[in-house]
């Protein structure tokens, strides 16, 4: 789960990481209220989960209530790269002397935790990594040993920060590591981490991705939920407990297994079509799960054909076929369906499907043939 900036700052604050005083506002009046509390000048910041807010005009400085009113009314409702702004974060504007970057994430190739610190903050870290990789000080952390104060100090020394910033940064990095590990995040990032003219170091932004697998030990995460900005298709899939990712194409895809679902998207693309989604219904593929999957895809108006790709392993082909026939009788599906059923008891399964077959429900023996038929039905040109 990706947190909004204000949620990330609230999460940081729990671990003692200094952030600017501020508050949340969903309306112009509330924004003024929060600004009065935070003390002028303030920064009015759009809360959207996408980069480039500043460039898009979603972050504005305001010296008084009138300016807050003006900026808040402009930013609320603004569309930033497809994300509509529904909420603002208003905080006291900080004087900035230096902007740094700090983060912790997993380094999958080293199978260790990775800390990154850079004296060049405030811009995309990928850009820094491309242009001047030497400007990023990295540390690999063995989670068994953790991150000691001494190791943190050595790491910070390599980043060439302003000497005034060193102590404050060491302190924040220790707390940020704790937030990362005990807070069960996949990523914690502060960009920029600032040094003020008074010599204080604090987090001006917060990017936190929580690990959904750890939700069982974090009941406090409940307050972060319900505000994610989901595509309506994603929202319905989530409600139904399906592994769904919306894409832009015209062929709806249902497969059992994540690898097979991804592969199905690829094959549709390979034969000249475009996948409308990734949808993994898991190993079982019973009638209810299949009906839910069809229902989600049915709501996608762009979908012109549906490709169901099932490989029977432990779940046998005949069981899957019965599930599909039952599902079709319970949901009224708009687009035509092509199904490829293979694996254990595939022939028995295809025999069951035979009775239901029509020009709107076609069974094909291989993945490629099925993909071509689906692309044709979706009005595409088959390669």
């Amino acid at each position: 789960m990706d947190l909004f900036e204000y949620q990330g700052k609230q999460y940081f604050a729990r671990f003692g990481i200094p952030v600017s005083a501020g508050g949340v506002a969903d309306s112009v009046d509330e924004a003024v209220n929060q600004a009065d509390k935070a003390g002028y000048p303030v920064v009015v910041k759009a809360q959207v989960q996408v980069g480039g807010r500043g460039k898009a005009g979603g972050i504005k400085l305001a010296d008084d209530a009138d300016q807050v009113r003006e900026h808040a009314s402009n930013i609320l409702g603004m569309d930033i790269k497809g994300h509509v702004v529904r909420r603002l974060w208003i905080e006291h504007a900080s004087d900035i002397d230096k902007e740094y970057y700090a983060s912790f994430t997993l380094d999958r190739s080293e199978k260790k935790l990775l800390g990154m610190l850079s004296s060049q903050g405030g811009v995309e870290i990928e850009a820094v990594a491309d242009k001047s990789p030497e400007a990023i000080a990295r540390i690999h952390i063995d989670p068994v040993e953790g991150l000691s104060a001494e190791a943190t100090r050595d790491w910070v020394a390599k980043a060439n920060l302003d000497p005034k910033a060193v102590d404050g940064t060491v302190d924040i990095l220790q707390k940020l590591y704790k937030c990362f590990v005990e807070g069960d995040a996949d990523l914690v990032e502060i960009n920029p981490l600032i040094l003020t003219p008074e010599g204080k170091v604090h987090a001006l932004d917060a990017k936190v991705t929580l690990d959904d697998n750890a939700a069982f030990r974090h009941p406090e995460w409940d307050e972060f939920r319900g505000l994610e900005q989901l595509d309506p298709r994603d929202a319905l899939a989530k409600e139904k407990g399906l592994q769904y990712v919306g894409l832009d194409g015209t062929v709806g895809i249902i497969a059992n297994g994540a690898g097979l679902a991804m592969s199905t998207c690829d094959v549709v693309n390979q034969v000249g079509g475009s996948p409308a989604n990734f949808l993994d219904i898991g190993g079982g593929a019973n009638a209810e799960v299949m009906a839910n999957a069809l229902e989600v895809i049915n709501t996608d108006e762009k979908v012109q054909a549906i490709f169901i790709n099932i490989f029977g392993g432990i779940t046998r082909g005949d069981e899957v076929a019965n599930g599909i026939v039952q599902a079709l009788s319970s949901v009224d599906i708009r687009p035509p369906i092509v199904i490829r059923l293979d694996g254990t008891n595939a022939e028995e399964g295809r025999a069951i499907l035979k009775d239901t077959e029509s020009d709107r429900f076609i069974s094909k023996p291989t993945m490629l043939e099925a993909a071509r038929t689906a692309v044709e039905l979706a009005g595409g040109t088959v390669k």
């Binding site: 997993l106 690990d211 497969a255 679902a261 390979q270 990734f278 490989f311 993945m367």
Partner: protein, 294 residues
Amino acid sequence: MSIFVDEKTKVIVQGLTGGQGRFHGLRNRDYGTKVVAGVTPGKAGTDVDGIPVYDTVQEAVDKTGADASFVVVPPKAAPDAVRQAAAAGVRIIVSITEGIPMQDEVLLFNELKEKYPDTQLIGPNCPGVISPGKCNIGITAGEIAKPGGPVGIVSRSGTLTYQALYELTQAGIGQTTCVGIGGDPVPGTSFIDCLSRFQADPDTKAVIMIGEIGGSAEEQAAEYIKAEMNKPVVAYIAGVTAPPGKKMGHAGAIISGSSGTAQAKIEALEAAGAKVGQNPTEMADLMREVVARL
């Protein structure tokens, strides 16, 4: 020959008394796997269809001489179950559990490496390992595999593994061992762990490697193939059409920034001399050609 497990492997099932543990544990035994014991704390003295249950892995190992464990417990309990098995000297631990928190997984990986370097954890979140005709630990349907080799399979994805097994079997091509290493960010067993064993196994003459987007395990494998392998490798990478920043089902299947794309992996593998299929069927066709020339 085979890698990791064979007809002599003695397996305990941690969680045998649960619904899933019972189902898969008994299926594995029906396949011919020596399932010698179950472990469920507090259930010692009972049995599951004749398989004795013990309170601890240590007790089960002491009584039965088991050298492998099949961990079928929920994500909360799985890391400690794996630790217990490693501490009892179990050599091969297969964890099918999906949904283990990343922080627990990376900690477990490093702990095992430091304290129990001889233990091989396969998974988590994997379908398991099967040496056809000898031993099946996990959830793979044994009937779609064919004993006798000459192909070894290593894969990050479950259903694509089944598809590969099935297509090879249909074509009359057997397998030595098929290892599902799982789709999580920090798998206990890497592609290279499997490739090196296949390279050393005299009965394995060619290898299928199935990867997907995310991380750089396929690129690392490509370097290994180039430097260390003389057996032919046929590969397939899923996720050419996956958009950046979205998890495609598996926790590990995510393109972040410009790293982890299918294209980069395919290029690395081709540069290493592997043949890469554009889809699972093409992968199987390529392997048919390779086997025909052996």
